[in-house]
């Protein structure tokens, strides 16, 4: 938007600097008025809806009790260090799992989209793997691995449940993410592959330099989605007895008969997930804008 009288490109035949005409100034006034009206409507409707909700909750019969048992601010501050300590474990496991999932899912996707006859058995195994773990509830996989592997007595000393639980999460999520990446690879138009191969690039070089960069760019938004979901689902390993933040909140609650720890734990999750979700939105918008720019060129 060139609001102020701008000089055109050098040597432009327009000559003198451009000053908006009366008609354009009038339009701007109208647009401004329309914007003000829209903002006013938005503010009014927000006020009515949010105000209504506050009123509904605040005046309900059980609200005083709920406030005490769920929103006890002083108790919340007291237990915050304990919950933070536990949440640290969630974050560490999240990062480890994310890295492992990234590697395994990429391999799975590559195997599943490969065409070489030598890889046929691997392709078959990868397909079975994805079918099984994408279709089994995560919680069941955690139980099966968390209780099943120790029963095998493979090692002298038992494997820590944190490791087993995280492994279960990694195995399951790798199947989800592999499918996302595979769909990205398949969405790259065959003509791109043909163009790269006709330049003499090998199958692998084509994949590495032409197909994957485009595929990954397309699936970044859904992958970020999975990343957010992963943070929440890492907490599921608490069913094996791992004291992460959800488990810690549960322990505190059962001691004090006050549910504030659950609320505090939720807030901790939100502090991480909301910025990530915003980032996902922004990436998605950028991707769409870029595709549209290509379309109109």
């Amino acid at each position: 938007m060139t609001q102020n009288p701008s000089t055109g490109p050098a040597g432009s035949p327009a000559g003198p600097v451009w000053v908006p005409s009366e008609a354009e100034l009038g339009r701007r006034r109208i647009r401004k008025a329309q914007d003000r009206k829209r903002a006013l409507i938005a503010a009014a409707s927000s006020f009515v809806i949010i105000g209504g909700l506050v009123l509904l909750v605040g005046t309900s019969q059980g609200w005083p009790v709920v406030r005490q048992t769920f929103f006890d601010v002083q108790y919340g501050w007291e237990i915050l260090p304990l919950l933070l300590e536990a949440f640290r474990l969630n974050l560490i496991l999240w990062v480890i799992a994310a890295v492992a999932i990234g590697i395994i899912s990429m391999l799975l996707a590559l195997v599943r989209t490969s065409t070489s006859p030598a890889l046929a058995p691997l392709r078959f195994l990868a397909t079975v793997y994805v079918d099984v773990f994408r279709g089994t509830p995560l919680l069941l996989v955690i139980y099966l691995i968390g209780f099943g592997i120790p029963a095998l007595q493979l090692t002298e000393r038992p494997i820590p449940v944190v490791v087993l639980g995280t492994t279960a999460v990694i195995i399951t999520y790798a199947a989800y993410v592999a499918e996302v990446i595979r769909s990205g690879i398949l969405s790259v138009h065959p003509s791109q592959r043909a163009a790269a191969r006709s330049l003499g690039l090998s199958h692998f070089q084509t994949l590495r330099h032409v197909v994957l960069p485009q595929a990954i760019r397309r699936v970044v938004p859904p992958l970020l989605n999975d990343l957010v979901a992963l943070l929440k689902d890492v907490g599921l390993i608490s069913v094996l007895g791992v004291v992460e933040v959800i488990r810690q909140a549960q322990i505190l609650t059962s001691k004090s008969f006050n549910f504030t720890p659950y609320v505090v734990a939720s807030i901790l999750f939100l502090i991480v997930t909301i910025p990530l979700t915003r980032l996902t939105d922004r990436v998605l918008e950028r991707t769409i804008a870029r595709q549209n720019a290509q379309g109109s060129a």
């Binding site: 055109g8 327009a14 339009r27």
Partner: protein, 255 residues
Amino acid sequence: MTGIDRAGAPVLELVDVRKSFGHDVVLQGVSLTVPEHSVTVLIGASGSGKSTLLRCINQLERVDDGLILFDGQDVCDPRADVDDIRQRIGIVFQSFNLFPHMRVIDNITLALRKVHGVAKDEAEARALELLSRFSLADKAQQYPDRLSGGQQQRVAIVRALAVQPRLMLFDEVTSALDPVLVNEVLSAVRELRSEGMTMVIATHEMGFATQVADEVCFLAGGVIHERGTPQQVIEDPQDPDTREFLRRVREAGRL
């Protein structure tokens, strides 16, 4: 010979239209009058602002300044009903933009049924009539990707025509087609001209421009350098930039 002396108030009038993308000024003061039943052809190199001008007319782009009067109504007025204006302006794009998930007949009747509330039977009857006029009747039940580029582009023209627009805009409609297919699309446009459709056409086909244009405008750097009848502008250009452009077109063997 003046070329544009057909009677009647102009369907479209542009006065000093400006448009920039960031610091890139694409149109700097373009004025244009398109009388009813006349054909205005925009020529000029890629990036001269032809497409942007067409996109401004049906409000796909918002202008920075200037007036665009369509049947006397300022389409740039923020209070104007953009949907209503677009219903009366047909546009055909370089890249067809048919809906790939719909059969040809559904592509054509979509706006008739959903926007204009025409009953399905009547809409399809009207679509079939139009299709047969453009020798496409046998393609009605097909999906767009089964058609050749020329057929797809003619379907796109029929789709724009189906709602009986007052003005048709053509944005380099043959640029994506091979020379053989170009001709069938251009004949379709000629057919429209003979029926008196008011049109604004951006094209690289100089021969075609000479045949159909009442007025030819040469755009460069967002300014109309020269305008007049095809005889004046294409066959006997006065402006040095127009001469240079046409010389290069001739060198490329496109005239």
